[in-house]
């Protein structure tokens, strides 16, 4: 028996559109599914949740076959323990916000008051503690989405499917909820599939990224695989991030071989650090000035992205930098070239994040 999700299936949605994917998600691993509109992301969610029958293939969760049309197996959604946050919420209009959140626990037989207590706790976590008695129809778009999130999480699912759970949220709410979401993903041991349009979200929350285009996975791998070796123009577009794990201590973050100065000094302990490749300046001599982080390194690889050039740096930190073609030519940047890199402390993003996730 293999733990986690092992899914390979095809599903025809219409004459013109077919999804054909293979996904392996071990327990405790978050996979992000990134893809343009109409790529079939929501279709994959529906298939895994048991809401659309697959045409061919097998879906296995923790050793249990959920779908196997060849063998006639099709486990109904309610027995799958697959939690879903739907793209358009689907909150029950006749139930209060609290009843929506309790729905999963109640369905699985929890007593009313225990479910209500757990639901209220979840509402507090998404910052809607005061809205327990409202109807979903009286919520703003963003409030509704947070309720949907709480509802799915409160049901204690064994596999978590999130169909763009943060898309309708505003910037400030989003970063707060992303943190809450990251925490929950950590707390919960099963496989997680996360759909998003936002590469930052994918890179921050996921261990592995699958790029879905027109129903097919065009690239799958770690964030680094996608970032350093994007295989399609769409993937290359997404690959705008340096991502490191580190330990924050206020104004500095220790990222293993190196300590980075950061402007966001609120954090202590394990964090994720992001630096956009375009934010990395490359110098031939040691730079002076405001950039707090400067170090000597060597160009390992040069990639031509068309209008820009991506440089992959070696020790002490595997940093990607993007420069113009003019800069490359002028400075003679090529593999083996020794350079100085400079990154402003204000350009280093810090997000709390722990463990493997």
């Amino acid at each position: 028996m293999t733990a986690g999700l092992d899914a390979r299936f095809t599903l025809r949605r219409s004459e013109a559109f077919r999804v054909d994917v293979a996904l392996q998600i071990p327990p405790g691993v978050t996979v992000a599914l990134l893809g343009p509109n109409g790529a079939g992301k929501s279709t994959v969610v529906a298939a895994l949740a048991g809401l659309l029958p697959v045409d061919e293939g097998r879906v296995v969760l923790d050793g249990t076959v959920l779908d196997d049309p060849a063998a006639g197996t099709l486990v109904p959604p309610e027995l799958r323990r697959v939690g879903v946050v739907f793209q358009d919420y689907l909150l029950f209009p006749h139930l209060s916000v609290l009843e929506n959140v309790c729905f999963g626990l109640r369905s699985r037989g929890a007593p009313k008051d225990r479910a209500a207590a757990a639901g209220a706790e979840w509402l507090d976590r998404v910052g809607l503690g005061g809205m327990a008695a409202r109807r979903p129809g009286d919520l703003s778009g963003g409030q509704a989405q947070r309720v949907a999130l709480a509802r799915a999480l409160a049901a204690e699912p064994g596999l978590l499917l999130l169909d763009e759970p943060l898309a309708a949220l505003d910037v400030s709410t989003r970063s707060g909820l992303r943190r809450a979401l990251a925490e929950h993903l950590e707390a919960f041991g099963g496989p997680r599939l996360f759909i998003t349009h936002d590469p930052a979200e994918a890179f921050l929350l996921a261990d592995e990224i699958h790029v879905l285009e027109d129903g097919a996975v065009t690239q799958a791998g770690t964030a680094d695989d996608i970032r350093f070796r994007p295989r399609t123009p769409y993937a290359a577009d997404l690959a705008g991030f340096n991502l490191f794990r580190g330990t924050a201590a206020g104004a500095t973050v220790d990222v293993g071989p190196h300590a980075l100065a950061v402007a966001d000094d609120r954090h202590r302990g394990p964090v994720l650090v992001t630096i956009q490749p375009v934010a990395v300046a490359v110098h031939l001599a040691q730079p002076t000035g405001s950039p707090r982080n400067t170090w000597a390194t060597v160009v390992e690889r040069v990639e031509d992205l068309g209008s820009r050039i991506r440089l992959q740096m070696g020790a002490p930190l595997p940093l990607a930098a993007e420069v113009t073609r003019a800069a490359m030519t002028e400075m003679g940047l090529e593999p083996g070239r020794r350079v100085w890199v400079a990154v402003k402390a204000t350009e280093v993003g810090v997000e709390p994040g722990t463990g493997e996730g």
Partner: protein
């Protein structure tokens, strides 16, 4: 707007006609006898029983029609609507042919259980159910079909089995249709006459509902007939007007 008021006139004018003939002064005397009391009690009991049976049998049938694909579905739906089309007297005859003591099924039923439907209160309930149940089935089916099924999917992913989904999501979400269906069914059962007199007979206290009492009164004393009709109108207006607006389809 104007058309709407004209539409309302269709109902108000005959009602006014009826009210104009009510012998108001003699009303207490006309309604005092136990014929009216018996009939009122019987009407209440049988119409509510018909609603209950219709709900128990009709909701699953509506669900089958709305949610399960099977061949011949259109014919099944057409058969369900037949009692609407058949003149009640014909419907009553059909019930006699089927469930009378010599009927297709009635004979076997009688032999097996000793149950005789004609001339029994149960027969009244059967007749009322036959003519009224289509309203419940058709209204609930419509509600089920117009509901967004993805809510049921969402409930299922939250661990709700078929039964829980039905009870906590589907039925509450079609509650307006359900209530409308129940009201239509009750109203039809309450007013049922032709099938009842043909199938169940017209025995005071046992099968003589208000409409049958009106019929008997018409043979003898028109004023009594009008008075009993007034009772029916009053009861229905009270029941129907008690329904809140929100039961008519809105959330």
């Amino acid at each position: 707007m104007v058309l709407g008021l004209l539409g309302l006139a269709v109902f108000v004018v005959p009602l006014a006609g009826l009210l104009a003939r009510v012998p108001w002064a003699r009303l207490p005397a006309l309604l005092g006898g136990d014929v009216v009391t018996d009939a009122l009690r019987l009407s209440a009991v049988t119409s509510l029983a018909a609603v209950a049976i219709s709900a128990v049998l009709g909701i699953p049938l509506a669900w089958l029609l709305a949610r399960v694909e099977f061949p011949g579905k259109r014919v099944v739906r057409a058969v369900v609507m037949l009692p609407l089309v058949l003149p009640p007297v014909v419907g009553g005859s059909a019930l006699l042919f089927a469930l009378g003591r010599r009927g297709l099924v009635g004979e076997a039923l009688g032999d097996a259980t000793g149950l005789v439907l004609p001339f029994s209160t149960l027969g009244v309930v059967v007749a009322a159910t036959f003519v009224a149940m289509p309203f419940l089935v058709l209204t609930v089916e419509g509600g089920l079909r117009s509901m967004d099924r993805r809510f049921e999917g969402a409930a299922a992913t939250l661990g709700a089995g078929r039964w829980t989904v039905l009870r906590r999501v589907t039925l509450p979400m079609v509650a307006p249709s359900l209530v409308a269906g129940v009201v239509l069914t009750w109203a039809r059962a309450f007013g049922e006459f032709g099938a009842t007199i043909t199938f169940a007979g017209n025995l005071q206290g046992r099968t003589q509902t208000l409409p049958l009492a009106v019929f008997v009164a018409l043979e003898t004393d028109r004023d009594t007939a009008v008075a009993i009709s007034l009772v029916m109108v009053a009861v229905s207006l009270i029941v129907l007007a008690a329904l809140r607006d929100r039961w008519w389809g809105a959330r």
